[in-house]
Amino acid sequence: MIGSLNFSALWPWWPDLVAGLWVTVKLTVLATVGGVALGIVGAALRSGKPGWASRLWGIYVELIRNTPFVVQLFFIVFGLPHLGVRMTAGEAALVAMLINLGAYSTEIIRAGIQVTPKGQWEAGRVLGLSRSQIFFRVVLPPSLKRIYPALVSQCIIVMLGSSVVSQVSYEELTFAAGLIQSRTFLSFEVYFVTTALYLALSIAMRQCLLAIGRKWFGEQY
């Protein structure tokens, strides 16, 4: 019954929750930086001349965007060892998050690049810049500025999705919560507190990323 909720019994367990939270934060930072870098590479490929690399990347994006994260994770953890690819739970979690964010951010960044006027490319060429110079110095910065809020949301979605990697025994926040639940049987209390921690993390992450955006792109966020 509701009256029997016992939050105070959770006090002795806070070091475990904090340790789990820290793992989640580290995983998120790595996945965000790597995933967005992957997205930039993908967007460069996808917005160039359509060749086999661009098509292959398109297939990767569609595969990732149309299958659940859990299934991708299970595929990496259980399926890939059959091909001789072995990873620890942490590595598998990071790889799964990277390929996930890589696929989504490719599409987001590409959307930003698509609305760049063609004249930008032509002007860059007239100035004697190479293709990659035009892409990284002329086209990419305003595109990133345009799609930055969407990219921030996607990074947060990937962070929240990371709670699933507890299923392959990686010791992040949700795994810590499950451990405490099995020791104390305070199921609702533990997951309530954990949910609050995720909410705090998602709000903090949005504020941080938007502050970085303000620093890089000016005051608009």
């Binding site: 019954m1 149309n66 659940p68 859990v70 991708q72 299970f74 259980f78 929240l160 997951y191 909410l199």
Partner: protein, 218 residues
């Protein structure tokens, strides 16, 4: 131990796919039903309900769906109600869906020019009439592309119900993997199942987006 042929694996996965589809439909229809009255409240000018709904959206969009499933599972049990994974999964997914649909719906209504409301008032239409005859038809047109796109997220979200013990496609895959020890094949097929459900929807959503955007630019 009984041997599983490839056909057995496929057959079992197809049987489980029904539950994925059913859970997705439940979440989507339930989510729509919850959203509509909430949207009316969100559109009213009162400040308090607005803030509450903002918090509701923030809560469901800012926490992992897995946590929402756990909380539904253990939360309903607190009331002494024996809760099945099916109940918990439909409850959590319905609320999750409604939080996103609420955002899509509100955004679509706000995207309409203010003049539409004013013109309706000049014509002497009531709030209800304006909403039903002027605003809703136009807002629906704007909302349909993102809604179809979000349906893909709902279908993928149902995969998490496997974690609280609901036997749908992903759970069936885990069980089959334990029996057959052919994870590459099993999870490949599971992924294919989701892809076949989601890809047509993604393409349709992209098509709608292009179509409506093109119409706007005339």
């Amino acid at each position: 131990m009984a041997t599983f042929t490839d056909w057995d694996i496929v057959r079992n996965l197809l049987l489980a796919l029904r539950w994925t589809v059913l859970l997705s439909l439940t979440a989507f229809c339930g989510g729509t039903l919850v959203t509509l009255p909430l949207l009316l409240v969100r559109l009213s000018r009162r400040r308090w309900p607005q803030r509450l709904l903002r918090a509701y959206i923030e809560l469901f969009q800012g926490t992992p769906l897995l946590m929402q499933l756990f909380l539904a599972f253990f939360g309903v049990a607190l009331f002494g109600i024996d809760v099945s994974p099916w109940t918990a999964a439909s409850l959590a997914l319905t609320l999750y869906t409604s939080a996103f649909l609420l955002d899509i719906g509100y955004g679509s209504v706000r995207a309409l020019p203010k003049g539409q409301w004013e013109a309706a008032r000049c014509l002497g239409l009531s709030f209800g009439q304006t909403l039903y005859r002027v605003v809703a038809p136009q807002a629906l047109r704007i909302a349909i592309a993102p809604t179809v796109g979000f349906a893909v997220q709902v279908i993928k979200g149902t995969a998490l119900a496997s974690i609280i013990g609901f036997v749908e496609l992903t759970k069936a895959g885990t069980i089959l993997n334990n029996v057959t020890l052919q994870p590459f094949k099993v999870f490949g097929l599971v992924a294919l199942g989701y892809f076949l459900l989601c890809y047509p929807l993604s393409r349709y959503s992209q098509y709608l987006e292009r179509k409506f955007n093109a119409a706007d630019h005339h």
